[in-house]
């Protein structure tokens, strides 16, 4: 605040006042223009696009989506309340439901699976002993003839109970106690015994329809979710008394989040009303309440317009941006409005008041916004799309606040001057606050806030298990025999009590919400309730995709230049592959590889967190059983043949294979199966599991039965360890799992999106990259571990530099940043508490971590305002500390309290949607701001007083060193 700066400020104030109408017109025109783009905001909510595509987990997911599809799966569950599923009305309902959901927009109906699916065929024999592959449910549905209907139901039941591949996935069995019956035995294998146990002791109570939808759905969320919910509502109305319906799936989840945001948009109005009332209470002038809102509203529109114009892919998390702009903008609005009113009281001239208020406020406002911007600036370097979105649009929105609040509000108040009343600038509570806090901070009770802060810090550190973290780090190499110590060292997890992994559904939705309890009764969030119900019923509701490729690769297909007109081959079998003339290529044509994959899949199925797996291997195993079971006998009576025909398997089961003393060639046998499957499948049917272009790569899909972030991490570690330990096994030594570091993945051009090339990083050497939602979960955890310390440290560094430049005082910069670290520790403590109670909507997952940086940027504002005012008042009071402190707390301190009340008050409605991410980020920011206010008002003055930085005390000392000593006493 040099004289030169003040002159600039005065020049700026005079300039905008002189061109008042032009400035107002310009701002309103820009706002109207931005308004035009607001409805183009690209709210997609696509978790795949949140994380950097170069991450190997995400790249694996991207690769499997590009090559195998099935990236947008939906599940509908139907559980009959009385009896079993083999009732005519129920099967008819399922049939009709299947058709209705297959007809939803963007449905890849060929990929749907359910009892009515054409894919669901019998694996049995006819009375004549011929193999029978008829559809289990006729295409035309059940007959209306009662006798025929009974026969069809018996055929369906019989067929389902023999279906090794789909029964586990499509039928939910329950025992007499209402517990789920597992089809897979304790050894992880399906056997005659495990199946018989289920069929004898349990009842088929439910079935599922699994649907696949195209990516275009993400561009039409709202229309799609309306139609999907419409179908559910129709069946609920007709069959709800007899059937429990459940719905889940990524498209539904993501689309319903967007819809929830629009449905609860009125809460934003409630926030505005809260702010309006607080402002009116503070100023008792409607113009002082409305004009700040107008200014902030313009900033919000400008920011939303920019979002629409740039078509940046946004998530529902971005709903917080308008709220942050509103809350922060209102803080600045209050400062300028308060100053304008003070000046108006003093001069009784609106123009003079505007000039003085802009002149005095523009510099601290700019500096304050500058520190806020640094919070956002720091996170803009993190390669997570919604962090970047927060940063870019946060920086833009904050920057406009200089114009829409600090500049525009006084200009509008010149046009619409408020009527003056007595005691405009001082309210009783403010003086009470100032006197009370001054008494505490200058009396013996001054230790209380210090003790309180230390206690809060210690509790936070205890909850976060900081001691365990440091102990593990100090244990060194000797301690690495303990896997947990090794993990802590590898991940530099100094706070192991704070879970940084993510439970995606709970990160998206709360399980209960207060507003629901108030308006609808129980407050249960249906999306989570359905997911939990389906999770109980199904083998698993999130997937782990393992992309399997050969190390060797394949030759390109022979083209026109491979042969001449005389039929002589010009390019040999070492140069190109001739499908008709050369031996089949590709690892999926080798029995040894399929055998190794089968063993791997058996291991996966035996894992406690993996409920089921599916892959092309299952096709081959089923076909092997069907074709080799003795003629005239049901194939499922020979479950031992449900295997890959390796030479070892055939020797063990020679009765089924040996003819004329010879066993078939294993490779030729699987090649025959591959050929048969290839020619009997509809377009794309096999391609969800195997690359039928090369037969050199495929995918194994595991269904994971937990979403607990600790268990999902353990699951992926176990898979990676298995693959590492068996890397040299026969068959496994020919393949790699997941995308490797340094690979290039081409994303083809689509619509307006140009062709894109991704080059993967190698941030996790030696670990197999697993795709699916499990992979996304792990990648998210990796990013969280990378950023949970880095992002706040980066932010604190920029804030430190900014405050150092601003105040030109190392001491002040150190005090401010130290106080920020106290708040940061309490946020980690909050995360640890949420982890300890298993509240996965609010543990310190990566989406929550953005709150750490934002809160730090916002929190330092209060310190900046307090220190600036203390310096000013120390100068005015001639170094009399108590008086300077009282005046600072009565003016700036009370404004900080009001700002905090406005900010938290405006968050409260937002915290009452079903969306967990908004709730958790709001919670962390609110907690930090309350802590920041407490520290700014009760700890910062003490620190300043004890450390006596020259920035504050120098001018006071110039006036009277003696007075300062008196003040200290």
């Amino acid at each position: 605040m040099t004289r030169q700066t003040k002159d600039y400020a005065a020049d700026y104030a005079r300039f905008v006042l002189r061109h008042r109408r032009a400035v107002i017109l310009l701002l309103f025109t820009a706002t109207l223009l931005a308004l035009y783009f607001v409805d183009r905001v690209n709210l997609r909510n696509d978790p795949d696009s949140l994380l950097p595509l170069s991450n190997r987990y995400i790249a694996t997911n991207l690769y499997s989506d590009l090559n195998y599809g099935m990236g947008n799966l939906m599940v509908w569950g139907m559980k009959v309340k009385q009896g079993d599923i083999y009732q005519p009305w129920f099967i008819r309902m399922v049939d009709e439901f299947y058709r209705d959901v297959s007809n939803l927009a963007f449905a890849n109906s060929a990929n749907f699976i359910g009892i009515p699916s054409p894919k669901l065929r019998n694996i049995g024999i006819t009375r004549d002993g011929n193999l029978d592959f008829r559809r289990l449910l006729p295409a035309g549905g059940l007959s209306h003839d009662s006798q025929r209907q009974l026969s069809q139901l018996a055929y369906l039941r019989n067929g389902l109970e023999k279906h090794l591949v789909l029964e586990s996935l499509l039928v939910y069995y329950q025992d007499g106690r209402g517990e789920k019956c597992e089809m897979v035995g304790a050894d992880g294998l399906i056997s005659n015994a495990s199946i018989a146990q289920v069929h004898q002791n349990c009842t088929a109570k439910g079935t599922f329809i699994i649907g696949d939808f195209s990516n275009e759905l993400k561009d039409n969320h709202l229309e799609w979710i309306a139609s999907a919910k419409g179908v559910m509502a129709d069946y609920q109305a007709r069959y709800g008394d007899r059937v429990e319906f459940h719905i889940s799936g990524e498209p539904y989840f993501l689309a319903s989040m967007v819809q929830e945001l629009w449905d609860k948009a009125w809460l934003f109005g409630v926030s505005l009303l809260i702010i309006l009332l607080v402002l009116w209470y503070e100023f008792r002038h409607w113009s002082c309440a409305v004009l700040p809102l107008l200014g902030v509203g313009m900033t919000i529109i400008l920011t939303l317009g920019l979002m629409g114009y740039t078509q940046f892919r946004l998530t529902t998390m971005m709903a917080l941006t308008p709220m942050l702009l509103l809350a922060i903008g209102i803080g600045h609005s209050m400062q300028i409005t308060r100053r304008f009113m003070q000046e108006l009281h003093h001069t009784r001239d609106p123009e003079q008041a505007a000039l003085a208020s802009i002149r005095h406020t523009i510099v601290p406002a700019a500096l304050s916004i500058g520190t806020d911007l640094h919070g956002f600036f720091a996170i803009s370097f993190i390669d997570i799309s919604f962090y970047k979105a927060y940063a870019y649009f946060g920086i833009f929105g904050m920057s406009t606040l200089i114009l829409t609040t600090t500049t525009l509000i006084p200009l509008l108040m010149v046009t619409f001057p408020p009527r003056l009343r007595d005691r405009e600038h001082e309210r009783g509570w403010e003086m009470g606050l100032a006197n009370g806090l001054t008494r505490i901070l200058t009396g013996p009770a001054k230790w209380l806030p210090v003790v309180a802060v230390i206690a809060i810090w210690l509790v936070s550190a205890y909850m976060a298990e900081l001691d365990r973290g440091f102990s593990a780090l100090l244990a060194g190499e000797a301690g690495r025999t303990d896997p947990e110590v090794a993990r802590i060292q590898d991940e530099f997890d100094i706070m192991p009590g704070v879970e940084k992994g993510i439970h995606y559904p709970r990160a998206a939705y709360k399980d209960h919400y207060l507003l629901g309890a108030l308006l609808e009764g129980d407050g249960e969030v249906k999306a989570i309730a359905d997911l939990e119900a389906l999770s109980e019923m199904m083998p698993g509701v999130i997937t782990a995709n393992m992309v399997v490729r050969s190390k060797q690769g394949v030759l390109p297909p022979c083209g026109m230049d491979a042969w001449n007109r005389a039929g002589e081959r010009l390019l040999g079998a070492d140069r190109c592959f001739d499908e008709l003339a050369d031996p089949p290529q590709g690892i999926f044509n080798r029995a040894e590889v399929l055998g190794a994959l089968s063993t791997f899949e058996d291991w996966l199925r035996s894992h406690p967190n993996i409920g089921y797996t599916a892959s092309y291997v299952q096709f081959v195993k089923t076909l092997n059983m069907v074709l080799n079971a003795p003629p005239g006998e049901p194939p499922t009576r020979h479950m031992n043949l449900y295997a890959i025909p390796t030479i070892e398997h055939m020797r063990r089961n020679a009765y089924a294979y040996r003819l004329a003393g010879r066993l078939p060639d294993p490779d030729k046998t699987v090649q025959l199966y591959n050929g048969m499957l290839d020619t009997s499948a509809v377009a794309g049917e096999l391609d969800s599991f195997i690359n039928t272009r090369t037969w050199d790569e495929g995918i194994i899909v595991g269904f994971v039965n937990t979403m607990d972030p600790r268990q999902t991490h353990q699951t992926i570690r176990d898979i990676q360890h298995y693959l590492r330990d068996h890397a040299e096994d026969p068959g496994m030594d020919q393949l790699i799992v997941g995308i490797q570091g340094g690979e290039r993945i081409e994303i083809p051009a689509k619509d307006k999106q140009p062709r894109q090339t991704i080059i993967t990083d190698d941030s996790m050497p030696g670990k197999a990259a697993i795709g699916g939602f499990l992979g996304i979960t792990e990648a998210t955890r990796d990013v969280a571990f990378k950023e949970w310390l880095n992002a706040p440290v980066a932010t604190s560094l920029t804030v430190f530099i900014m405050t150092l430049i601003m105040f030109r005082s190392w001491m002040i910069a150190c005090i401010l940043i130290s106080l920020c670290f106290i708040t940061l520790m309490t946020q980690y403590g909050l995360g640890a508490y949420m982890s300890s109670i298993g509240e996965w909507s609010a543990n310190l997952a990566f989406h929550v971590q953005v709150a750490l940086s934002i809160a730090m940027g916002l929190g330092v504002d209060y310190g900046v305002y307090m220190v600036s005012r203390l310096r000013e008042e120390m100068s005015v009071c001639g170094g009399e500390w108590r008086q300077a402190l009282r005046t600072t707390l009565g003016s700036t301190g009370s404004a900080i309290v009001i700002s905090m009340v406005v900010l938290v008050g405006s968050f409260i409605p937002l915290m009452n949607t079903e969306l967990a991410n908004l709730w958790s980020v709001s919670l962390y920011i609110s907690e930090a701001l309350i802590m920041d206010v407490f520290i700014a008002l009760m700890v910062l003055p003490l620190m300043v007083y004890w450390l006596r930085p020259g920035f504050v005390f120098r001018q006071g000392r110039k006036i009277s060193r003696k007075d300062a000593k008196i003040a200290k006493v």
Partner: protein
């Protein structure tokens, strides 16, 4: 995500010559105006009848019958050339056993399923399902399979068993929309340069020789519930009852078009023709398939005993 089961094992039987075995003596050449149902029966007879005793298509030199399958548009890449399968077929329309209507045999002669043979026995009593005997060379076993369903895909193509073999005139309700002339060429699979290899080089191009021929336009609505199509509109040669073009609709949406280039076999009855090529295009995803039977591979009324159509022939074929 799991999606499917390997349940349609019935290897694609080669019914091409079943469709070419023409015009029954029991179905005299029609005279005078015809109803929609009568036209449909003539078409069915022309495609499934048995004027010829037997017919075969067998590789001769470099001439061989082929099925070419091309992936849907979204899955086509430069390194994915269309799949090709060559085959020989043998059709017996007049077995001595009156209980048997036809005996059809197909043997695959290339690729991973090379040597796989299929014998399809269809009984005169339609209530008795057909039987497929399949020779699996790698296992050296015969397995018997019951009749495929109408909607089962035929040999990895976008054609179904229903379209090629199983669907009868009584399975649909027919309506004569009128008469006209063939107005355009019959489309064929148009391969890009990088999609061609020595096996697809000889595939024929679009057939324009039928332009101007008088045709019936017949609308046929399926009687099956929840079926993959609602109706199809066909262009049928008024003289030969050859089905040149069939367009399938689901609601108002055109979902598939099948073109067949019927060519004369120089027999007295004009209905005796053979399908030089069948080209089917699925409009939703662009997948297309083509079956090409060179004239040089076809022989009629050979002196072959009924026991040629046997499992033993399957076992020993090509040895």
């Amino acid at each position: 995500m799991h999606k499917s089961t390997p349940l349609r094992y019935a290897v694609g039987l080669i019914f091409v010559l079943a469709a070419s075995a023409q015009a029954s003596e029991s179905m005299p050449y029609p005279q005078g105006p015809m109803s929609a149902d009568e036209i449909a029966r003539q078409v069915y007879t022309a495609a499934h009848g048995g004027l010829v005793q037997n017919a075969i298509s067998k590789r001769k030199g470099r001439d061989v019958a082929v099925v070419v399958n091309r992936a849907p548009l979204a899955m086509r890449t430069q390194d994915r050339i269309p799949g090709v399968q060559t085959f020989d077929t043998y059709v017996n329309n007049s077995p001595r056993d009156p209980a048997i209507e036809t005996l059809q045999m197909a043997i695959l002669t290339s690729g991973r399923t090379k040597g796989t043979g299929v014998l399809f026995t269809r009984y005169a009593d339609r209530d008795k399902g057909a039987i497929i005997s399949m020779w699996l060379p790698a296992l050296r076993k015969i397995r018997r399979i019951n009749e495929p369903s109408h909607e089962d895909v035929w040999f990895g193509t976008n054609l179904t068993y229903g379209e090629l073999v199983l669907r009868g005139p009584d399975d649909e309700v027919h309506e004569l929309l009128g008469e006209g002339k063939v107005e355009g060429c019959l489309e064929a699979m148009a391969l890009k340069h990088w999609e061609k290899n020595r096996y697809t080089l000889q595939l024929p191009g679009p057939q324009c020789a039928h332009i101007g021929k008088p045709v019936y336009r017949l609308k046929s609505a399926t009687k099956f519930k929840n079926w993959w199509y609602d109706y199809h509109i066909s262009e049928i040669d008024k003289r030969t009852f050859a089905l040149y073009q069939t367009v399938y609709y689901k609601g108002a949406e055109k979902i598939k078009t099948v073109y067949i280039d019927w060519q004369s076999l120089d027999q007295p009855d004009p209905r005796i023709t053979y399908p030089r090529y069948i080209y089917a295009l699925t409009h939703a995803d662009g997948k297309d398939s083509m079956v090409y039977v060179p004239r040089g591979t076809i022989s009629l009324n050979l002196d072959l005993a009924d026991d040629f159509w046997s499992e033993e022939t399957l076992r020993t074929y090509g040895r």
